[in-house]
Symmetry: C2
Subunit: 419 residues, 2 copies
């Protein structure tokens, strides 16, 4: 891409372009942070209002049945399943990613203890999103295991030896945008007798994920990034059907009971993934999440996730090339992979000193990306609503910020926000 | 109370009556189920809309700072603290009651293991709300402890011997409305070397709770009952300051980290109650909860929880007496305690055969209480919006349902709803 006109022509020819009309993108914003918080779908305010004013306000307690609240976790889960290669009834929306990771890692460690008690290591990456590591640290201590962190992604395969119980990875790295080959690593893990847990926080709705085809063991993911479910939206959890019924997960709350309304004093887990539910979910948050998931499902007639992925790759490829061509003199280095097969839906640049103020200066201009410590400028590209002209304009702003030294004046008024 | 006019006169003289104007109670409904799902506050729809359309829609990721999302859990927690006798900075809104119970029971068991390793029993009541027992069952297994369930509330004190680590009780029983003496049982527990965990699901916003004055150890509670936070609202968690910093709770997600945005690979728990946070909370759900909590705080100038409690007792006392006087011939038995000091904010009646269809027939008439298996008709009285005339009218409807045998035709179209 050499000119802004070329970008506009690409948008005009883009069969996915109409999907942007599903969203309320502020006029004065180029939003490259959908990997932190997705944009508001236009349908969400009315749906949320309906849940609040009608279903809650008028229906009151009756709405658990009459408005279908009681099966929302499954209904939304079934929709998310279609985006990540899972079957109906295999995935539920629930709790937060951290809480769900606790559930599946607990289950995986119990399975490992039963099937291969000598395996006592959880392998992950040092650059994994911290909450995943914190949860693993907690469970490792509880189960007498050890959490081992790998620095080089290429070295993971070689580490899958017979002391390893679980390989726990985030599919697309939150800082670098590097994507693992889920099928290949899962196959390598299984041939070494290791279970796999995949965090799809930066994958669901952004890249093609095939949980069943990859033969993965467990997965969790986030509702508020590429699924556009709103700030702190419920997360999701999936267990392969071969594992779902094997053990209780420890957060054995009443919503995961086989018959919650029998109010029996003894826990009897529901069959399948429903046992991964715990307490009562926020109905309002769940309804907003459903609206967000629907915006991704709207791409199904146009080729679904494969088509979204193709556009996402074109966006990130173009942004990386333009940034390199136009900002080469300012000391920025590309951190995210060049190879399409290794890149998620984001482009990360680094600068040892100015990353934070440059991001601030861009935000002041309405170009919203984010900073990740210590030196990363992170730009996420949500193919549902990001245009090629946004790519052009964002790089133009970036160039001007750098050329004018505008970042020197950037107000240090924003700490890093929620990833 | 002998006549409807008397009821109207009591309402006219009630200094708390204006608080009802804070709510949107449907015209055709007498709502006696605020102990399951509180009524919609009139302020909530606009506030939720503001969060969705403005803070999320326009502010996007910037709102974590500019709209104060990042400290919502603490802000709402500080408000709830005022209703349950806790200090500022001691309580946070987070997750579900089940998840929060998992956190505090884990912490209590760790403390017991450190201070008194021979203590291996968790004592609770068989009639406790099941999710509490399910979570305790899970943690008992994990910690090599035993969950022992007491059938007779009066026998709890005698069971607090030197093998007991934790006494875990729901302050007001969900089925019977019976309330424990928190201060007395906590004192008995402490003198026996036992830690206490109180579930305030049916207490917060309904009865006077004094966590600090009672010297309790841990507490959790529900946001969607008497706090009017909406279906599945976030719950809350409190740890006495003497315990809060002693151990990690196992759900060590990034929101409980001392510096979440440093993204360090090692968990370092935040000081105080903030370490009881885990993942990213739903901002929309949290904002709705705040509106609900504000409706209770609005009673502060009128005497606060003590005044609300006095009205609640008058409502339940009147309902119980009227039901007994007017429906005595129909085989209903009162299950909730007669003694004010032992009764929460609900009246429970039982009937061995017709409880479920009678509740259905009442709902068909717009009198919403609920059924609790196997034989309980449960009526909750939220003093913020329930009037004496509602008490009169509800009993009138109950009498007619019973006298006309209307329950025989009640459609069996509603399973028990979320408590």
């Amino acid at each position: 891409m050499q000119t802004r006109e070329e970008a506009l022509a690409l948008d005009a020819a883009d069969p996915l372009a109409p999907l942007r009309a599903q969203f309320t993108v502020p006029d004065d914003v180029i939003y490259l942070d959908g990997n932190s918080l997705g944009v508001l779908p236009s349908a969400t305010p009315a749906r949320v209002q309906q849940v609040v004013a009608e279903e809650w306000g008028q229906g009151l307690i009756r709405s658990w049945n009459s408005a279908g609240w009681i099966t929302l976790a499954q209904r939304v889960g079934d929709k998310i399943a279609r985006l990540v290669g899972a079957g109906p009834g295999e995935l539920v929306a629930a709790d937060s990613t951290s809480v769900n990771l606790f559930k599946v890692l607990s289950a995986a460690l119990k399975i490992a203890k039963a099937d291969a008690p000598a395996r006592r290591v959880i392998v992950s990456e040092r650059s994994n999103f911290p909450t995943d590591l914190y949860i693993a640290e907690s469970l490792a201590a509880q189960h007498g295991c050890r959490l081992e962190l790998i620095d080089d992604a290429e070295a993971i395969g070689a580490r899958l030896r017979d002391d390893v119980a679980v390989l726990m990875l985030t599919h697309v790295n939150y800082r670098t945008g590097r994507m693992h080959d889920m099928a290949a690593l899962t196959a390598a893990a299984h041939s070494a007798g290791v279970l796999t847990i995949w965090d799809l926080a930066h994958s669901a709705g952004a890249v093609v994920v095939d949980l069943q085809g990859s033969n993965a063991d467990f997965a969790v993911g986030c509702g508020y990034k590429y699924l556009n479910g709103g700030p702190g939206a419920p997360a999701f959890v999936w267990a392969h059907p071969r594992h779902a019924d094997r053990f209780w997960q420890p957060l054995s709350g009443w919503m995961g009971h086989a018959a919650p309304f029998e109010f029996t004093p003894d826990y009897r887990p529901a069959p399948g993934i429903a046992r991964y539910l715990c307490g009562t979910p926020s109905v309002v948050a769940m309804a907003a999440l459903e609206c967000g998931v629907d915006t991704v499902l709207a791409a199904e007639p146009m080729g679904g996730m494969a088509a979204l992925r193709a556009k996402s790759l074109a966006l990130t490829r173009t942004f990386a090339a333009l940034a390199e061509a136009r900002c080469a003199d300012h000391g920025l280095t590309r951190v995210s992979p060049d190879d399409d097969a290794l890149r998620g839906s984001q482009v990360c640049l680094s600068h040892p000193e100015t990353a934070y103020p440059v991001v601030q200066a861009l935000i002041a201009r309405g170009v919203i990306g984010d900073f990740r410590a210590p030196d990363i400028l992170r730009f996420g590209f949500t193919p549902l609503y990001t245009r090629f002209v946004d790519v052009w304009d964002a790089v133009e702003h970036l160039m001007q910020v750098l050329e004018h030294g505008e970042w020197r004046e950037a107000r240090f008024n924003q700490k890093a926000a929620v990833t």
